[in-house]
């Protein structure tokens, strides 16, 4: 089993990134990096996604949006925070409208560093997340077994 690892579908959301990490996430799809080799698809729809790739930090307006997207994803799911802003707020941490990294709102499984994060490290991060995804699935089936 464990087909999750072979077919991770992403959803990407730009929380309050400067676009630097966003375009690098997109660049992962394109011929040079071609993440579809690993079965990764950028679905753009939370209900189809397994991996939540989020760039940029949290502000007051997008807090609910990030939460909403996360909740709408079916289990098991993982969150990958891409770029320093998503990890901690980065250079904008002191801005009045920025309240910090994504982990304030939703649990983050993998932190990808960089400003902007390079496609290679983004792919690395996602691959790492797949391991966690698999653990979560195993736990989920265990829970189901217990309940049943």
């Amino acid at each position: 089993m464990a087909y999750l690892k072979k077919s991770p579908w992403l959803i990407h959301y730009d929380a309050s990134s400067c676009n630097g990490c966003d375009i690098e996430v997109l660049a992962c799809l394109t011929p040079l990096y071609d993440v579809e080799r690993f079965g990764i698809i950028n679905t753009g729809n939370p209900k189809h996604a397994d991996v939540f790739v989020i760039t940029g930090s949290i502000n007051d307006l997008n807090r609910e949006v990030v939460k909403n997207i996360y909740e709408q994803m079916p289990n098991p799911k993982v969150v990958v925070a891409v770029g320093i802003c998503a990890c901690s707020g980065g250079v904008f941490a002191e801005c009045y409208n920025v309240s910090g990294g994504v982990d304030q709102v939703i649990p983050v499984d993998v932190y990808v560093p960089g400003c902007a994060a390079r496609p290679e490290s983004i792919i690395d991060g996602i691959v790492k997340a797949l391991g966690i995804l698999e653990e979560k699935r195993a736990k989920m089936t265990e829970m189901e077994a217990v309940h049943a």
């Binding site: 630097g20 930090s57 400003c115």
Partner: protein, 359 residues
């Protein structure tokens, strides 16, 4: 009984790489009303002038946006230099010009790809982004960063490019010209692409000018307006005419961008020919006092960095007016009465960079 469908379009939406939201009111796929709303990526970085000293603030200016990064940095520096009356060495100005045009190339390729994706031509998206990688390679090789370069500083630039490398870069660009024109050819001549962009999102010249459109959005409506003609950096020394198209629709805006890529190559080529030897920076001392509206042409249009110094190491005010912000009113007009399927194409046709617009 009203037959109107109300759809929350965004902030999270796969055709919008960035969060912006529209409340689409449609009837039979005809958009009755579409008012955009922004604010999801607002950080408020302009207030950080109080925490960062003006030379250090360049990093922040560059991170206003990850696509127009270099030009933001350069325009900010240009503003501070104007306030402080710094005479920047010629070579640095030429290098800024070269990098700016590389940024424009990568941004236009990025846009062409996203636009293709917006009207469902995945292959074209892939092709545009494949070519974009070779531009990014040049940027990375010469500055060290793919999307955020960090090579501009108040008083000049941080890195030099030796003339051999410059020549190689030009010859590689010449090599790329063929592939780029193949790509542009599809955008300009493919019937299905034309079908999706011709007569979509009409913005007549007068409205474009009156509503404050800038950049390709304005030039696509036949108004020749390009901030590079002001002659900042080394543009004054380079022969150049703005690209305009007079279709006033998405197709024209696309054509402007496609053709500007070649203009950029020409500019880089000319700049490399004319680049003088010399230092790449001057030492800047003192504290800025005074104000200046620093203007430059970004891939998306004219950007303005307003810099006001008060005689301390901290600026009193830094305000960025980005092209996307001022292109929003024309966008509101363009969306009126369009088709639902045209919404992404029209929104993308102003090349929105929300990261810029909201800072």
């Amino acid at each position: 009984m009203s037959k109107e469908v109300v759809i929350p379009f965004g902030p999270q939406h796969p055709v919008l790489p960035e969060p912006i939201h529209l409340d689409l009111v449609i009837e039979d796929e005809k958009v009755k009303q579409a008012i955009p709303s922004i604010g999801y990526v607002h950080r408020g970085l302009e207030t950080l002038v109080e925490k960062r000293e003006y030379p250090e603030y360049v990093y922040l200016a560059e991170r206003i946006c990850g696509i127009c990064s270099f030009i933001h940095g350069a325009t900010y520096c240009q503003g501070v230099e104007a306030v402080m009356n710094v005479e920047v060495p010629e070579r640095a100005l030429f290098l800024r010009t070269i990098w700016s045009e590389y940024s424009r190339l990568h941004s236009h390729l990025l846009w062409l790809g996203l636009a293709a994706d917006g009207f469902g031509f995945e292959n074209l998206f892939m092709d545009a982004w494949r070519l974009r990688e070779s531009i990014l390679d040049e940027l990375e090789a010469t500055t060290g960063g793919r999307v955020i370069q960090g090579s501009c500083k108040v008083g000049g630039v941080r890195r030099d490019i030796d003339s051999e490398t410059l020549d190689e870069m030009v010859s590689r660009l010449e090599g790329l010209r063929g592939e780029l024109s193949d790509l542009a050819d599809v955008f300009l001549n493919d019937s299905s692409v034309k079908g999706r962009m011709k007569n979509v999102g009409i913005l007549p010249a007068k409205e474009a000018y009156d509503y404050g459109a800038v950049g390709p959005t304005l030039r696509g409506s036949g108004v020749s307006s390009d901030a590079r003609m002001i002659g900042y950096a080394a543009y004054g020394k380079i022969h150049f005419t703005p690209v305009t198209e007079d279709g006033c629709d998405c197709y024209s805006r696309c054509a402007v961008r496609a053709k500007e890529m070649f203009a950029s190559i020409d500019i880089i080529k000319e700049a490399v020919q004319k680049i003088p030897d010399g230092p790449i920076e001057v030492k800047v001392t003192g504290k800025p006092e005074g104000e200046y509206f620093s203007r430059a042409e970004q891939p998306r249009g004219e950007v303005i960095h307003y810099v006001k110094g008060n005689g301390t190491r901290h600026l009193a005010r830094h305000r960025v007016r980005t092209p996307t912000l001022t292109n929003i009113p024309p966008l509101v007009k363009m969306l009126e009465g369009c088709e639902l399927a045209d919404v992404p194409v029209i929104v993308l046709s102003i090349d929105p960079c929300i990261g810029c617009a909201e800072r």
